[in-house]
């Protein structure tokens, strides 16, 4: 067992624990905070995998911007605890059964697939650095990058239209 392995096992335990806590905690605020913890541990796993740029994007965009948006909406709606009893009593057992089958299928696909047990090829020192990712992003993937900016603009306009509509109707 190498140092990397111990670090990975610890991070994996924290990530799974945080995900389970997110799932079972009654308050939506606690769920959001556990999800932030999960995203941060996954970001450290990305660092272990020499994906430095993606790890930073994960921390700033996911754990930063997106989760702040979630917390903001939870606070805005005052919707920390809206949990009611499930209307379908058989739903939870069926959901657990379906998820178990799905997980089993994923493990089966992994065992019969071609994913290697080895950590793979050796990579250069600059692998996954902002420079390496940026060079590829602005040469081969320039068009998808620009399309993403249009997508983000469309999402922004959509969010504004969706949330302003009711207010303008009440005002008129």
């Amino acid at each position: 067992m190498t140092t990397d392995m111990w670090i990975f096992l610890g991070l994996a335990l924290v990530a799974v624990w945080a995900a389970v806590c997110m799932l079972i905690s009654r308050s939506a605020v606690y769920s959001a905070l556990f999800l932030v913890l999960n995203f941060l541990t996954i970001a450290v796993v990305f660092l272990l995998l020499q994906a430095a740029f993606i790890a930073l994007v994960q921390v700033t965009v996911y754990a930063g911007a997106i989760m702040v948006l979630f917390l903001f909406v939870i606070m805005l709606l005052g919707a920390e605890r809206v949990e009611t009893t499930p209307s379908l009593p058989w739903q939870a057992p069926v959901a657990v059964a379906i998820t178990t089958v799905l997980f089993g299928l994923m493990v089966l696909a992994l065992l019969t697939g071609q994913a290697g047990a080895a950590p793979g090829v050796e990579v250069a020192a600059g692998f996954g650095s902002p420079q390496a990712v940026g060079e590829l992003l602005f040469s081969d993937f320039l068009l998808p990058f620009e399309v993403t900016s249009i997508l983000l603009l469309a999402a922004m306009i959509g969010a504004i239209v969706l949330t302003r509509r009711e207010r303008s109707r009440e005002a008129s």
């Binding site: 739903q91 994923m106 950590p119 990579v123 996954g128 993937f141």
Partner: protein, 101 residues
């Protein structure tokens, strides 16, 4: 980096399964939405693990675009939840039964 790719993919599968369970069992629309984010993140983890195994940096580009699309999706999705809350005064997913607002 001495962690086998199998272990990373297993972790990704566990997180994805927890996300599926969250979407199927929770009634709070915001928590369901967070579970979807967890599933997206699990997929990102698998992509990064395979990118490391193959020594291909294209996987990182793919994850970058997934994060961008997720940001757009969260903005629209949370706006929809706010719109639903304005009409139904609740984000319990069982209350959203009719198609008319």
């Amino acid at each position: 980096m001495n962690v086998p790719t199998d272990y990373l993919v297993i972790l990704s599968a566990i997180l994805f399964a927890i996300g599926v369970l969250g979407v199927l069992t929770r009634r709070n629309a915001i928590v369901m939405f967070m579970s979807v984010e967890l599933m997206l993140n699990a997929a990102n983890l698998a992509l990064i693990a395979f990118a490391r195994e193959r020594g291909e940096i294209v996987g990182h580009i793919f994850v970058f675009f997934i994060i961008g699309v997720a940001a757009a999706e969260v903005a629209v999705g949370l706006a929809l939840i706010v719109a639903i809350f304005k009409t139904k005064r609740s984000i319990d997913i069982d209350q959203v039964r009719g198609l008319r607002g």
